[in-house]
């Protein structure tokens, strides 16, 4: 299994973090890099979107989002009863795993490019659509049968006008409206530099993840196991769905990666606001400390390997 060189920057970040280096990416830079990545992905998707009849996308989108709802609905009872976690913690972690990670998706796309595997351009639309439903499911799970009042208005506001969704959808719309020619003069910033910026971002993620690794001992082996088994199971679901929908092998790998990935940008903020009694260290520790590195180093090559088996058997 080979991996993308860009993930070496994550490793460098982890090493720096574990060695307690004074290296740190300033917060303002991290913010700017994440705005860049979200906008660039949105623009890329919008340009591609213009090539497809929107109506044909509607059905598959509904299916991809509907099936994805299984992820938090399965994760919640597992965490609650097998993991003996509090209702709030189980719901919050389920929401993180039901949502998706933009960086994991980007690493997977880069991986496929590097191996010259083709994939459908509209995958990015699924990325946008999958980001938020799980957050709402998570809050519903946390509140089911309890008296605690939820700040629903704040949650909806956070979900739809929080910067991740806003930039993804905004980029999508601008890319769609401007078309390939209108976007061309922006290519040098948003597309040519994309992979380099991703490398920078992974460096910072490594730094942050390293501080999470230390925490993990406290959370016990159950959560660590969950953070590895859950993505693989979700990825399998994604691969079979991809084949059923007639997607290319590359497209199925991307659906699998979206299902397997856990959010650590939109979900933590939304959960902190809507389910404040959940411990954020647990959900971020699992998604960023284990699932993210697992996915970029082992998961993506594994999902591709599985995709080849599954598609060969068709």
């Amino acid at each position: 299994m080979t991996f993308e060189p860009v993930v070496l920057f994550f490793l460098l970040g982890v090493i720096a973090g574990l060695a307690r280096s004074d290296l740190k990416i300033p917060g303002a830079i991290y913010e700017a890099l994440s705005i860049f990545l979200l906008l660039a992905i949105g623009l890329k998707g919008g340009v591609k979107l213009a090539e497809y009849p929107l109506a044909s996308l509607l059905f598959t989108s509904l299916v991809v989002v509907g099936v994805a709802a299984l992820i938090p609905l399965v994760a919640f009872p597992v965490l609650r009863y097998l993991g003996r976690m509090s209702r709030a913690d189980a719901a919050s972690i389920a929401a993180h795993y039901g949502s998706v990670s933009v960086v994991t998706f980007s690493v997977a796309a880069t991986f496929l490019d590097q191996h010259a595997v083709a994939y459908e351009g509209h995958m990015i639309v699924y990325l946008v659509l999958l980001e938020f439903p799980a957050l709402i499911i998570g809050v519903l799970l946390a509140r089911a049968g309890t008296a605690g009042q939820t700040r629903w208005d704040q949650l909806f506001h956070e979900v739809f006008f929080g910067k991740s969704i806003l930039l993804l959808i905004g980029g999508l719309a601008i890319g769609y409206l401007a078309g390939p020619d209108g976007i061309a003069p922006l290519d040098k910033l948003f597309f040519d530099l994309f992979k380099g910026v991703l490398a920078f971002f992974l460096l910072e993620m490594g730094l942050v993840a390293s501080s999470r690794i230390a925490d993990l001992r406290r959370y016990g082996t159950f959560l660590v196991g969950f953070a590895i088994v859950m993505p693989v199971a979700a990825a399998l679901l994604g691969l079979f769905l991809g084949r059923a929908l007639g997607l290319s092998e590359g497209g199925a790998v991307l659906i699998a990666t979206l299902y397997a990935s856990a959010s650590y940008i939109a979900a933590p903020t939304a959960m902190r606001i809507a389910v404040p009694e959940a411990n954020p260290a647990l959900s971020i520790g699992a998604s960023l400390g284990i699932t993210f590195p697992f996915n970029i180093f082992l998961g993506i090559p594994l999902y591709w390997w599985m995709a080849e088996r599954i598609y060969a058997g068709s």
Partner: protein, 96 residues
């Protein structure tokens, strides 16, 4: 606004609820406030200001004892259980 018997109320809390807290403070009658970025350690663990953990904010409100009392009571009831929160007061002399 030189008035006697002013208190400075300092609130250190998570930046994720900055806007919510400021709405509460204004609704309770504060005429102004000053906010600055901070990080720190308390019973809710380290808040280093790195993303995914988030930082703290330090909110200062100058007002009379009554206002401070109302703010303290409201924030304690609604936010103390779930969020990192520290509140303290001390008397100051307003000079303009």
């Amino acid at each position: 606004m030189a008035m006697a018997n002013s208190l400075q109320l300092v609130i250190v809390t998570e930046s994720v609820i900055e806007n919510t807290i400021i709405e509460e403070i204004l609704a309770l009658g504060a005429k102004g406030f000053t906010v600055s970025e901070a990080r720190g350690l308390g019973t809710h663990g380290m808040r280093s200001g790195r993303w995914t953990v988030g930082g703290n904010v330090r909110i200062e409100v100058i007002g009379d004892a009554d206002l401070c009392e109302r703010i303290v009571a409201t924030l304690q009831e609604k936010y103390d259980a779930d969020y990192g929160l520290l509140m303290y007061t001390f008397p100051v002399n307003l000079r303009n």
